[in-house]
Symmetry: C2
Subunit: 243 residues, 2 copies
């Protein structure tokens, strides 16, 4: 990056001194395929590259679905985690789509002092495995980004694809969330739209230095399950369990 | 427990075959003081005991405050973590007040298959270290319980003290949250009030078995910071960082 196809975007952004974030399907020299997002600064230089950690959907073609969500067939999950970069005068992290539903994504960046998280997403409004979630898509999208922002004292910017592609309608609701969890700006349509907000990074410290002073209040010694096991352990019970 | 003072409560509840949760200040034989909550089944038997992990506030008297929040002076933080008990035909966990603001609390229980989390809280409406958070108390309270419920596919029941004590006004907003994150019932006043909801635990599996199938989708190998460090590590940067 920049490839010839996106070179005009880099050129135009640099001319106007605008930094940006860009998602794409990455094919490495080793033949690995990652769902990738890069952070480009005002000079048009790539300052950060993030590869998606949480790959949702399924591994194989499922003929009964109205549309496929075979992201696990196409992409390798990254093992590089969630780095945070010094850029734009602050500490910036990235995540992609499904990552935003996992509190661990925000927390791993929060533990590196992130102040601004940039997230692109492409979320079908119809969730095939459980359609009762369909009418809740907008609610869930806001809920996870607002709580992730608040619980880590960071801005979160979520940018939706939105609209219809190949007959699949996807969530819009691009938004900029403050460290308080409040939504500062939100797209009101599913079409092309520009939203903006002033992001004073000092706001983060009204949370990071008080209620969420991690060094003072966190208790990592009792969080060992979070990084120590993947699935549910149903066998363990409390000391007073009688069943 | 039951002590003579609460014996009438135990007796009455057992007579009506109603289980309950009870919070109290516990003094152990060793002289330790915990902020504790017990789970009592329909037969009046104590089936679970939880001691608070996240102790907020301050260690010493701070004379400039309009009221003290010296919980860290009075209570020892528990190192027993967040157990989950088989009770009431499901898997039940507990947390207390400030625990609900930390996604780790819910996740540690989620990793034990929790289906219902019971939380008592006593939250002053005025947050002395940052009064800009005062008007957001109700929003933050709902945000953390709703996201914790959704992200772990569990019911969450939050029970407020509410009202004024010794001149300090505290948040009400007791609520029952579904595994979808939706609020099923919420108190509408700061006085004594009864709220209820049917909690069909099967609902949990519309989330635990799909989007939040932990065994399929979680990536504990990149979550190591969460249990491996307490405070913020500002030094670590991504591979493309240029600053």
């Amino acid at each position: 990056m920049p490839s010839p196809i996106v070179q005009p975007l880099f050129d135009l952004a640099r001319r106007h001194r605008i930094g940006f974030c860009l998602g794409y399907a990455e094919l490495t020299d080793k033949g690995e395929r990652f769902n990738t997002q890069i952070l480009v600064d005002r000079e048009g230089e790539v300052v950060g590259k993030y590869r998606k950690v949480h790959i949702p959907g399924h591994e194989h073609h499922e003929p009964d679905r109205p549309f496929q969500h075979a992201e696990r067939y196409y992409f390798t999950p990254s093992s590089e985690g969630f780095p945070v970069w010094n850029a734009f005068g602050g500490r910036v992290g990235m995540m992609i789509c499904n990552d935003r539903r996992w509190p661990e994504s925000y927390r791993v960046m929060g533990l590196q002092g992130v102040e601004l998280i940039l997230c692109g997403y492409n979320t079908p409004l119809h969730y095939v495995p459980d359609p009762t979630q369909d009418p809740l898509q907008g609610f869930h999208n806001a809920l996870v980004m607002q709580s992730g922002a608040y619980q880590n004292g960071t801005f979160v910017v979520g940018v939706a694809k939105g609209g219809v592609e190949e007959g699949v309608d996807s969530l819009a609701d691009s938004m900029i969330v403050a460290p308080s969890g409040e939504i500062l700006a939100k797209a009101s349509t599913s079409g092309d739209e520009l939203i903006w907000a002033d992001c004073n990074l000092d706001w983060c410290y009204q949370y990071k230095d008080t209620l969420f002073d991690f060094d003072r209040y966190r208790r990592p010694e009792v969080y060992t399950r979070i990084s120590g096991q993947r699935g549910v352990d149903p066998s363990d019970r409390g000391p007073f369990n009688k069943l």
